[in-house]
């Protein structure tokens, strides 16, 4: 088989999941029922199983397959699959039990047309689980690992209308994904130290990993991941509650496969991380605690599924303890234990599902005597339960024997060996009791509740548990220790790192493990006979304070902390701003410290040198910018403050002119004016009462508050001032990039203006995004004010159907309801065409002179803004009916993209400069280039006009309260008109 065939099982199973999901389509759903669908879907795990089997021949020769797909090679992230005997063993179990569970689920959900959801999840899970055990890269493993957690969540919460199911699912997800995060960090540690994320390398760098100072950290992190997933004490609390999943899911995820992911991971990493003191103590102690706790808690359960869940926990504890050992027999025990448990436990779960399905209850206190009505199910259940009890000739017996042999192994420290043996005997006895209890109280005796009556399930449903149950019988009987056991031996070797001999012979002579086993069985019988009294005692002894109490306490604590944290949000915008600014300044001071004393001598004060005039102008501009800004604080009226701001902005523009940035200065001037217009329009939109009230409260606060604001303002001002000092001190004398632009702008783009060249060519994508942002701002304002405002009682900007332009003079008013004088009206008429001419000049000659598409757009918009001020909203809209704002924005952006695409078509790169005039040999006036740059400038202009007009339209629209005033004025004007006629 080629190595890329490793991908096949995954693809097949995920395709199965897709098919199952498609079954949700109504027309398919009507044609096929769930049972038929399940037969079809069972083909997916079946073919994957066959593919895995075809690899086996080579695997027996201890070969390893790996296949890699570079995913994000730049960060060393690969999708890597890896198949050795250990993976293959798990893969075979996953697909084999997968086939049975899918068929079983088809019967379980018979007639339920929505159960395709369940089958989809199951196949998704199967894919994730298969990917997990076949991952050849720790990151690939992690992705599939999280995948299993998520699908498990979906399955536990399958009956999502039930609150208990939702809570259980949440618990399972919380615990396993918290462990997943720990695992990720641990795996990153490992791959960092090993120098690679692939298992082939990691498994060989055991010495580096064990010798590292980070060894304890990464071991504990990885172990937390494995312990949470495999329900080890004290993280086991999620597993019993996960039983609210439908039984097929419990049989598959929560006993046979997913909970073994942690076991798989630890076994996989044993050659790299294991064989140390810490590994031994951690895994042995946790494993022992888990196996005792699981078996003990299982005894008091009444629900069959809960009982099975606790026995699963116990078994997982045994397996975890086995991995901790450093002896051959332990790994034999591990592999046999995994196989035995997967077989009998999935069978028992499916039997439990049948009992539940056919009788309607899983309560041991109500069941009983079902052997007569369900003899076949009884037989299957008995086989599996006897395997669980560890009785010969079933496979479970072998698992228990090897466990006891490990526990009693002479290589262990004396006291550990005693405790371990004792714990194993007690666990064995309890497991025996659990198995017997399960069997006896369900099938034997007399029915405790006459209402509970059972009958045999459909054949396919009964067949599913029979397969693993019979396998547990046959596997124990297989003759010949070599052939069949080779896979298991190889798998054990992969986990142990050294050769492991595995024979499946049940009878190995009279030895100590057999004697201990006998002791365990006798103890188990005694416990079984006194089970009622024991259970009563357990209930009485059950502590008030359990792990679940801690879990609930932690969750409610989190809730309380969140509540407390949000209580700190007292909703005052200014308070937030204050905290943000204070934190920013604090951070700068903490990490940067106070600046060193400045070398002021290198900075110059104003001097009257030969550039004296410039200095005076500069001084004036600085004065204007600063003092006007200060005035805007001082003045009472908002309107005056806005005007002061405008003056300050002009001062800034002056500084820019003097800093030799004419293009910037031009844009600064027009944008300053535009900001002024928009601020004034926004001010007039606010209802007058609010406006007055807001003006009153500007300084209305306690002196302390005012002082605090002042303090933070001064502190941030000083911080920025110091920043500027250091910027001025450390700036380069010579620009690095400007000479390049200067040398190439003319040659490459035919542009004299370097800033213009940067805007329309060198950094053109910036500009493209910039006009998009600007356009979106305009559209956003329109949407906000038109729709959102209306929701809160304001009619907002309703764009009415305006009448076609008429020759009759419209009796509308300018801003504030006053009619402008005719002189100003004429001026307004003149200004728009003039502005357009200026704009066109700007666009055409932008590459040689200050000014560009943006300036052009703002200049036109300013003229339109003037119209709004003079003519008012209605008349302006009426006269400028051609001004379709959104279309302008769209046309602008579209044109920009077209001009970029032309570059692709003609020169082969996006936004390459193409001079059509030169190309076609047209004789154009000097300085006029018919090029893509021109198109782009035009595009900028269009979208800016569109966006700004959007803003003007929305801010310039008379608010609800003003409209009354306008209507009133309109009536007066009409009266006047009539009178004059």
């Amino acid at each position: 088989m080629p190595e890329s065939a490793l991908l096949l099982p995954l693809i097949i199973i995920l395709t199965g999941a897709l098919i199952a999901a498609l079954y949700g389509l109504p027309w398919l759903n009507r044609r096929l029922n769930v049972t038929q669908l399940s037969w079809l879907l069972a083909l997916a795990p079946f073919s994957s199983f066959c593919i895995l089997v075809s690899f086996l021949d080579n695997l027996e020769a201890n070969l390893v397959f790996s296949w890699r797909l570079a995913w994000l090679p730049s960060i060393g992230f690969n999708l890597e699959l890896y198949l050795d005997s250990l993976s293959a063993l798990f893969g075979l179990l996953i697909t084999l039990i997968g086939i049975l569970v899918i068929i079983y689920a088809g019967q379980y959900f018979k007639g339920d047309r929505s159960a395709y959801r369940f089958l989809t999840y199951m196949l998704l899970f199967m894919g994730a689980m298969l990917g997990l055990v076949m991952a050849g890269d720790v990151l690939t493993l992690f992705i599939f690992w999280e995948g299993t957690s998520i699908v498990s969540f979906l399955l536990v919460a399958y009956k999502y209308k039930d609150e208990v199911a939702r809570r259980s699912a949440f618990k399972a997800l919380l615990i396993t994904s918290a462990g997943g995060i720990a695992l990720l960090v641990g795996l990153l540690f490992i791959s960092y130290l090993a120098g690679s994320t692939t298992f082939t390398v990691i498994l060989k760098s055991g010495d580096i990993l064990r010798g590292s100072v980070f060894y304890p950290v990464m071991l504990i992190l990885v172990a937390i991941g494995a312990f949470t997933k495999s329900a080890q004490f004290p993280f086991h609390i999620w597993l019993p509650e996960a039983m609210s999943a439908p039984t097929p899911a419990s049989a598959y995820l929560h006993s046979a496969t997913m909970v073994k992911a942690g076991i798989y991971l630890m076994a996989r990493l044993n050659p790299a991380l294991g064989q140390t003191e810490m590994w031994f103590w951690l895994l042995t102690l946790v494993g022992m605690a888990t196996m005792l706790a699981g078996a003990y808690l299982g005894l008091k359960q009444n629900d069959i599924k809960a009982l099975l869940a606790y026995s699963t926990i116990s078994q997982l504890g045994i397996l975890m303890a086995m991995i901790g050992q450093d002896i051959e027999i332990a790994f034999k025990a591990l592999i046999i234990g995994i196989l035995a448990h997967a077989l009998y436990k999935s069978a028992l779960f499916m039997v439990a599902g049948i009992v539940d399905h056919e009788t309607g209850t899983r309560d041991l206190r109500r069941l009983g005597g079902l052997r007569r009505s369900m003899p076949y199910t009884f037989a299957v259940g008995a086989l599996a339960a006897l395997s669980m009890a560890g009785l010969p000739p079933l496979f479970g017996f072998l698992a228990k024997e090897t466990l006891l042999a490990t526990a009693f192994h002479p290589s262990l420290p004396k006291i550990v060996a005693w405790i371990f043996t004792l714990a194993s005997i007690v666990t064995g006895a309890l497991m025996f009791t659990l198995a017997l209890m399960l069997l006896w109280d369900t099938f034997m005796g007399e029915p405790r509740d006459p209402a509970v009556r059972g009958h045999e399930p459909p054949k396919a449903m009964a067949l599913a548990p029979a397969v693993p149950a019979i396998l547990s019988l046959i596997l124990g009987q297989l003759p010949g220790p070599k052939d069949e056991a080779a896979l298991l031996a190889n798998a054990a070797q992969a986990a142990h790192g050294f050769k492991v001999k595995v024979s499946l012979a049940l009878w190995t002579g009279l030895n100590i493990p057999l004697v201990l086993s006998g002791v365990a069985v006798c103890l188990g019988v005694v416990l079984f006979l006194y089970r009622q009294r024991l259970r009563e005692l357990q209930v009485r002894l059950s502590p008030a304070f359990t792990l679940n109490t801690i879990y609930n306490w932690a969750l409610s604590g989190l809730d309380k902390a969140a509540f407390w944290a949000t209580r700190m949000q007292q909703g005052k915008l200014r308070r937030y701003l204050f905290i943000i600014l204070a934190a920013a300044i604090g951070l700068i001071l903490i990490f940067r410290g106070l600046p060193p004393p400045l070398n002021l001598s290198s900075l110059s004060w104003p001097t009257a040198d030969f550039r004296g005039e410039l200095v005076i102008l500069r001084f004036f501009a600085l004065f204007l910018a600063t003092v006007a800004a200060l005035v805007s604080v001082w003045v009472r009226s908002d309107f005056t403050a806005i005007l002061a701001f405008g003056a300050s902005g002009l001062g800034v523009a002056g500084l820019m002119v003097l800093g030799a940035a004419p293009d910037v200065a031009l844009v600064q001037i027009v944008v300053d004016m535009l900001s002024l217009v928009i601020l004034v329009l926004a001010l007039t939109r606010l209802p007058r009462i609010q406006r007055r009230r807001a003006q009153e409260v500007t300084f209305l606060q306690r002196p302390m508050g005012l002082a605090r604001d002042g303090l933070i303002a001064v502190a941030s001002g000083i911080t920025v001032m110091l920043f500027t000092f250091s910027a001025l001190l450390s700036r380069p004398r010579q620009s690095v990039v400007t000479p390049y632009y200067a040398a190439n702008a003319k040659k490459m783009l035919g542009s004299k203006s370097i800033v213009g060249a940067i805007i329309v060519d060198y950094r053109v994508l910036d500009t493209l995004i910039e006009i998009c942002v600007f356009g979106i701002a305009g559209l956003g304002i329109y949407t906000l004010l038109r729709y959102a405002a209306r929701k809160f009682g304001d009619k907002g900007t309703q764009v009415e159907e305006l009448p076609a332009p008429t020759t009759v003079e419209l009796n509308t008013m300018g801003i504030g309801g006053t009619r402008a004088s005719n002189f100003i009206r004429v001026l307004a008429y003149v200004i728009l065409p003039v502005a357009m001419v200026i704009a066109v000049t700007d666009i055409i000659y932008g590459h040689d002179m200050p000014g560009d598409g943006f300036t052009a757009g703002v200049i036109i918009s300013l003229a339109i803004g003037f119209w709004y001020v003079v003519f008012g909203y209605y008349e302006t809209r009426n006269r400028l009916f051609w001004l379709k704002t959104s279309s302008f924005v769209a046309a602008g952006i579209l044109l920009a993209i077209i001009s970029g695409t032309l570059g692709v078509i003609i020169k082969g790169s996006f936004f390459a400069n193409v001079d059509f005039g030169q190309m076609l040999g047209l004789s154009l006036p000097k300085g006029f280039h018919l090029s893509t740059s021109l198109l782009f400038e035009l595009a900028i202009c269009l979208s800016v006009v569109g966006s700004v007009t959007h803003m003007l339209n929305t801010f310039g629209h008379p608010g609800e309260e003003d409209r009354e005033c306008i209507d009133c004025l309109r009536q007066i004007a009409e009266l006047e008109n009539k009178r004059s006629q």
Partner: protein
């Protein structure tokens, strides 16, 4: 001159912050615009120090001012103007919703 420039930028920034912290939302918007101006001036001051000529290609080789910060400021001016206009419309929505232009009386964020 540099010292005065730095002081002026610091003062404008301080004024912007102070205005931003006013209860009157119109003043906050003005503060935002003044802040943007201060930041643009700061950006301009990070350019190379040599060069008094505007950045235009000419036949006479003269030291020119740094073109890159200028292009960046150009973008910054446009974006900050669009952003401020958007903020203004949001302030308007909030004042329509709460019937006040006093940001302290807006209590929708309160827990």
């Amino acid at each position: 001159m540099e010292i005065l420039t730095a002081i002026a930028i610091g003062t404008m920034f301080a004024v912007g912050v102070f205005q931003l912290l006013r209860r009157n939302v119109i003043r906050s918007a003005i503060g935002l615009l003044i802040l943007a101006n201060a930041v643009n001036l700061f950006l301009l001051s990070t350019g190379a120090s040599v060069g008094m000529a505007p950045p235009y290609v000419s036949d006479i080789p003269v030291p020119m001012s740094d073109a890159l910060p200028q292009a960046l400021i150009l973008t910054a001016i446009v974006i900050s103007m669009g952003g401020t206009a958007f903020v203004l419309s949001m302030l308007y929505i909030i004042s329509a919703r709460y019937r006040t232009s006093d940001s302290d009386e807006v209590d929708g964020l309160k827990h």
